[in-house]
C-alpha cells in the first residue's frame, strides 16, 4: 500500500462505468441510482484500500471511528457524483438543483477580461460548474484534466460530449507545457479550472495545515496567479444528495502583485488560504471528500486502518536544492 495515488488503478472500472452509462441514459437517473446500492456494497467489500482511506478520513474529521454504514454512505456519495457526471456531460442540467453561492464575485472578476483561475478539489462534483455556464456561450471554460489517468472515464466523457474535449488541457503533457497552456488560456480571458489538491509524484509541493496535520499541496497552482496577475477563485461543487448541489465561488486572491522575491511566500499563503476554506467545507460535509488515498502522506506507507495516523504528516515536500 505504498503506491502514489496516481499509480492506483482507476476506481470506477470499465464495467461499472459502462453500466452507469448504459443504464443511466437509457433507463434514466432514478433506475441508475437504484443500482448504486449494489455498486456501493461491491466497492465496500472489494476495495479494502479505499475502505480504509474512508475509515481513516472520517475518523480524522469527525473525531470518532465511523460505522460501516457511514463508510458506505461515503462510497455511495462518490458513486452518485460519478453517475451525475454522465448527466451533466450529456447536458441534462434541468434535472439538477444547483444552488450558486458567490457567482457575482466570480462574474465581477471575469469582467476584468484577464481570465480567472478557478481552483477546485476532489470533493463533490466539479462538473456542476458547467451548469453555471449554461446560456453563456461567451464564457470560455478550459479544464486541466489528465486524460490518460482515467481512460475509461475519459472515453465515456468524450463519447457523451465531444465538444467538451476541445476545452480540455491535457495534464499528461510535460509540466512546463501545461503551465504554458494554462497561461495562454488565461491570456485569452478563459475561465481556467484545475483541481489543486493533488500533486504528481515529482512535483514541487508546499506544506499546509489541513484538518489538524500538515499536508502537501502542489506549488504550481498557487504560484500561477501571482506570476500571471490573474484573480484566483476557489470553486467547490458540493453534493448534498438527491439532485442537489451547492456550487461555491470564493475569491482567494485578486491579481496578487507580489515582488519576485516574495512569490514563494505568497504562494504558500494562498495554498494555506485554499486549504482552510477546503477544510471548512469538508468538515461541514465529510462524505464529499473524494481523495481515495492518504492525503497527508501520498507517497508514504498508505493509510492505517487503526486510526487517523497522526504521524502521517511528515514534511516530505521536495525543497529546492
Amino acid at each position: 500500500m505504498s503506491e502514489h495515488w496516481s499509480e492506483r488503478k482507476e476506481g470506477g472500472g470499465r464495467f461499472a462505468i459502462w453500466l452507469i452509462r448504459g443504464i443511466g441514459l437509457r433507463l434514466g437517473r432514478p433506475a441508475a441510482r437504484a443500482l448504486l446500492y449494489p455498486i456501493t456494497l461491491y466497492f465496500f467489500l472489494r476495495r479494502p484500500y479505499e475502505r480504509r482511506v474512508s475509515y481513516a478520513f472520517l475518523t480524522r474529521v469527525e473525531g470518532r471511528r465511523p460505522s460501516a454504514w457511514r463508510v458506505m454512505r461515503h462510497i455511495h456519495r462518490f458513486a452518485g457524483t460519478l453517475l451525475d457526471r454522465v448527466f451533466l456531460l450529456a447536458e441534462r442540467y434541468a434535472r439538477f438543483d444547483v444552488r450558486m453561492h458567490g457567482l457575482d464575485e466570480l462574474i465581477a472578476r471575469m469582467q476584468r477580461g484577464r481570465g480567472v483561475l478557478l481552483l477546485g478539489a476532489h470533493v463533490g462534483s466539479f462538473e456542476v460548474l458547467r451548469a453555471a455556464t449554461i446560456g453563456h456561450p461567451e464564457v470560455k471554460l478550459r479544464v486541466l484534466l489528465d486524460v490518460h489517468k482515467t481512460p475509461a472515464l475519459t472515453q465515456l466523457l468524450h463519447a457523451l460530449n465531444p465538444a467538451i474535449g476541445h476545452g480540455v488541457i491535457d495534464a499528461g503533457r510535460p509540466p512546463g507545457e501545461i503551465v504554458l497552456a494554462l497561461a495562454e488560456a488565461l491570456a485569452e480571458g478563459a475561465l481556467v479550472t484545475l483541481l489543486a489538491d493533488r500533486a504528481r509524484a515529482d512535483e514541487r509541493c508546499v506544506t499546509v495545515e489541513f484538518c489538524g496535520a500538515p499536508a502537501p499541496l502542489p506549488l504550481a497552482p498557487f504560484a500561477l496567479g501571482g506570476i500571471l496577475k490573474v484573480p484566483v477563485v476557489l470553486c467547490l461543487g458540493m453534493y448534498r444528495g438527491g439532485n442537489r448541489y451547492d456550487l461555491y465561488f470564493e475569491p482567494l486572491a485578486d491579481a496578487p502583485a507580489a515582488a519576485r522575491g516574495q512569490r514563494a511566500a505568497a504562494a504558500q499563503a494562498l495554498a494555506q488560504a485554499y486549504a482552510a476554506r477546503l477544510e471548512h467545507h469538508v468538515r461541514l460535509d465529510p462524505c464529499n471528500w473524494f481523495n481515495w488515498h492518504d492525503f497527508w502522506n501520498p507517497q508514504g506507507r498508505g493509510v492505517d486502518a487503526a486510526g487517523p495516523g497522526v504521524d502521517a504528516g511528515a514534511d516530505h515536500a521536495r525543497s529546492r536544492a
Partner: protein
C-alpha cells in the same frame, strides 16, 4: 556562493551567454552563475539548474519581454527547444530571424 570564481565559460556563444544571463536574472538563480551553465546540459529536471514548470513559465515571460515573441505550449518541438541552453538560444535566434 563563490563569487570570485573565474568565469570558466564552457564555450557559450554570445547568444547563449546573453540567454544564460536572462535565465539567471529572471529566475532569481543564485546557485549557479550564468557563465557556468553548460550549453548542452538539461535545463529542467535534475540537472545543475533543475528548473521546474513554474520556471518554464517565468522563462517564457522573460523571453517574450526581451525578444518579443511567445514560446508556445503547442510547439511539437518543445522537448528539444527547452532541452538545453544551446537549443533554446538557437530557437530564439531562429524566431527573431523569422520575425
Amino acid at each position: 556562493m563563490d563569487t570570485t570564481h573565474p568565469s570558466s565559460a564552457p564555450s557559450q556563444s554570445a547568444a547563449e551567454h546573453e540567454l544564460a544571463q536572462l535565465i539567471v536574472a529572471s529566475l532569481n538563480i543564485d546557485w549557479i552563475q550564468a557563465d557556468a551553465i553548460e550549453p548542452e546540459a538539461p535545463l529542467f529536471g535534475d540537472g545543475a539548474l533543475g528548473l521546474d514548470s513554474i520556471d518554464a513559465l517565468e522563462l517564457a515571460l522573460a523571453v517574450s519581454k526581451r525578444y518579443g515573441f511567445q514560446l508556445r505550449s503547442d510547439n511539437p518541438d518543445n522537448k528539444r527547444i527547452f532541452g538545453s541552453l544551446r537549443a533554446l538560444a538557437a530557437h530564439i535566434q531562429q524566431q527573431r530571424g523569422a520575425a
